[in-house]
Subunit: 212 residues, 2 copies
Amino acid sequence: MTTEHATSVRSPRRERTRERLLDAAFTVFADAGVQTTSIEAVCEAAGFTRGAFYSNFASKEELFHALFERKAREHLQALEDLTASIDADAVATPEGFRDTVRRVLSSFELDEPAHRHWCLMNAEFELLAMRDADAAPEYLATQQRLRAEVGAVLDQLLERFGLRFTVDTAVAVDLLIDAEVAGSRCAVLGAPPEQQSATRLESLVDLLITPR
Amino acid sequence: MTTEHATSVRSPRRERTRERLLDAAFTVFADAGVQTTSIEAVCEAAGFTRGAFYSNFASKEELFHALFERKAREHLQALEDLTASIDADAVATPEGFRDTVRRVLSSFELDEPAHRHWCLMNAEFELLAMRDADAAPEYLATQQRLRAEVGAVLDQLLERFGLRFTVDTAVAVDLLIDAEVAGSRCAVLGAPPEQQSATRLESLVDLLITPR
């Protein structure tokens, strides 16, 4: 549910408070788990009162959705910056194309320990949404909106280089993100490199992309 | 960790006790969550004492691994029975082959509500293992052993019909199971059919399987 907080224009000071609450929540959620972390713990980590929290977010769930949106925006921006910087020469050879695809995909990976934190938080919110019929629709809607945006960016990129997906863009994006998420979780579990994202994605990209 | 309980030969009575504990655990873990469910709650649901529990399992974690193994064995057996029942005529046409692959993949899906319970329990144990460096190695090892068995069954099936995977079997199995798991979680979240497993798997099977 989007409240007035999420859509209203915010003052710079309020924006900073909101950002600090999001930063603190990211760390404490990842460390201690979302379910067992109280709003008080988030406020304490950020150095704010409960009042400051509730003037920015209606609930812990709304805070998570804001975190998720912020992270997804960062990912999309990085992807757009990266694709804008690629020139046609770089992808003229099969090796060049492969390197470029690897760079594009690795733009979704954060440095440790942020990547680990992000994986844990995602897994926990997925589970919370699966267990809570009230939370599920918004979780799904956010996921689908962001996947659609990733699909639009990738379609544009492929078109620029005379390529296309071999399947529907929506299915391609689902398969790529499923593989990336599963591989990242394997990495958090301490799996060897061949069970992590890069191996899965390399094969998948070869299968999913073809000349127009 | 495998204890003597898991490897010793069990009496029929003890085997029944063990199965009843596993059945009860499956239901209460799925309903209430693994983290918040006590061993006492599992014993109560099964109608046994704590003593009966500890003569079968060293810990809640060991109980989960036994549940996971049992479910995976059922899946593998269903897959083997199904592949043994397929004759060459059934896959001689593209339509026949597609139908057969769909039947093979749908053998992994349980009836509701068991499928939903299974998805929830899997998601929770994945998260617990991601958060617990002591639990992660066994979780990963179990996953990998079962994926290797699925790979061996699929390789045999493909060979019988003059087909092969377009990528390494291990990668193909990872991609298929990632897509199946992600699609099943979307189903639990209430996603529309095009975001569930069947759509992902249909595209993936076409990409992953080719004549020898």
